[in-house]
């Protein structure tokens, strides 16, 4: 299943990707999967299994040592674990940053930033500095910054891991709304099984290092998803299966 070559029409595809770091650590071993338009794929796995390395390879921050990874590198949105806002820029100027680095004209930048800020619900906070925002609001600003260039593929590196549960669930809902509205494909990393199932069309389970895809679960629930989905029996059952697979992954 995990060895099957990914479809060539995929927006993002890993084909037998392996990664060995300079110090000899083997992080990834023969990872193959693809993500098509309209798919939201989440990878769960034990800490240090190389989940984040997948994103770093996809975005070319790291070069894989084996296999191939194909993606349109000009159309990636990358959301880091922390908001990585520039403390000296206001929310509006932070959201403009990526467009600015792509040398878009000022008027276009302002327009795109204003739209993205509205989309993440930060209207009215444009002139605030990051230190004046709560953790959840900083993450919204970070999302808006990536949304500005309307990327086709979004890479999320445990973006809500540091937030409290209520804030995380709110942001889960809002990210799903953005996913439907903007139509990007998503590759999401988390270690929360509930979050993985709630967000995704598909959940991949990774083994401990060296990371391999050891199980794959299609998530059958239709979008838009409701907060209460988390308490449905089918939801719990699927979480249980993934949890079992993860237990196997730890051994």
């Amino acid at each position: 299943m995990s060895e099957a070559p990914a479809s060539t029409s995929a927006l993002l595809s890993f084909n037998n990707v392996s990664m060995t770091f300079d110090d000899g650590t083997k992080a990834l071993d023969n990872v193959s999967f693809g993500i098509n338009a309209g798919e939201f794929v989440t990878v769960v796995g034990p800490s240090g299994c190389g989940k984040s390395t997948l994103l770093r390879i996809a975005s070319n921050l790291e070069a894989n040592t084996g296999g191939t990874c194909s993606i349109d590198r000009n159309s990636i949105g990358y959301v880091f674990q922390d908001a990585t806002l520039m403390p000296w820029r206001t929310v509006a100027r932070n959201v403009e940053l990526i467009a600015e680095l792509h040398k878009l004209p000022k008027a276009d930048r302002h327009q795109l930033a204003a739209e993205a800020i509205e989309l993440v619900g930060l209207s009215g906070f444009e002139d605030k500095y990051p230190r004046q925002l709560s953790g959840g609001m900083r993450m919204r600003a970070s999302l808006a910054r990536s949304l500005v260039m309307k990327p086709k593929v979004f890479l999320f590196d445990e973006p809500f891991g540091a937030l409290d549960e209520i804030t995380r669930e709110r942001l889960n809902d809002e990210l799903l709304r953005l996913f439907q509205h903007e139509g990007f494909a998503g590759l999401f990393i988390t270690h929360s099984i509930t979050e993985a199932v709630y967000m995704s069309t598909k959940v991949l389970v990774m083994s401990a290092r060296p990371g391999k895809i050891i199980a794959e679960f299609d998530v059958p629930f239709a979008y838009p998803r409701n907060h209460d989905l988390r308490y449905e029996p089918e939801f719990g059952e699927l979480c249980g299966k993934i949890s079992h697979a993860l237990r196997g992954a730890h051994q």
């Binding site: 922390d82 990585t84 520039m86 403390p87 000296w88 993440v120 619900g121 906070f125 990051p130 004046q132």
Partner: protein, 287 residues
Amino acid sequence: MSTSNVVTSPVEEVIPDKRDKVSFADYLGPVVVFLVFIGVWYLLSTVVLPEQKRFLLPTPHKVIKEGFFVWQSGERRGLQPILMSLWDSAKVALLGLGITIVMGMSLAVLMSSSRWLERATWPYLVAVQSAPVLALTPLIRALIDGTQTQRLLVVVLIAIFPIVSNTLFGLLSADKSQHELFTLQGASKWTRLVKLQFPAALPNIFVGLRISAGLAVIGAVVGDFYFRQGGVVGIGAQIDVYRNRLWGPELITAIILASALGLVVFLFFGWVSRRAIGKWHIINRGH
């Protein structure tokens, strides 16, 4: 964009500004310290010092009467000649500081861009910082013509280290993930410097500026001691004359005014710093 897809406003609250208002107590501290200082001064000049040595430290009221309230007496005594020489030193200190800032920051930028250069330069910068500039004065005099240039060189030698070290530290302080954000967009080295590293370094740069500004004044005073020519002299040279002639009140007046110049530049850069980065950078006092 259809409004039905626009998410609701976040319930999380904006974090209130915890910056304290300046209160009466904040002014009380410096006043108390000042009164203690004056008290100790009186104690030293009227009780502690043996009678025949009291000319070394005249009482505060004597300093005010004979140092500050005499405009001019002879060629060198009085407030007017002191202020003239202070102005002369201030010009050297400020011009020297300007040169120091340009040189120091350029050096820090070069060092931040090359690990090799950083390692090659660092030990010598520390050496310059700790070298006794006084001992180098004969060499400086032999190598460089013109007292003005010699004085500027002393200012640069004494003041450059804090600028370089703080700017370098600041330029290297940006987070790894912030750097990666720029890498992902294919940003050039220059863009990275201007839009990430330099703004991230500003709080440190201002710390360096305040320290270097004070040192530049010291450098100018020290330079006056060793490099002087006829005509208008710097405050350091003036202090030397008063010291040799045992003119206590004038000596103390000149010292106080030289310190005041240092204080003024220090406060000025503190003010510039608050204007420039106060909106986003808050010094954490830990309470």
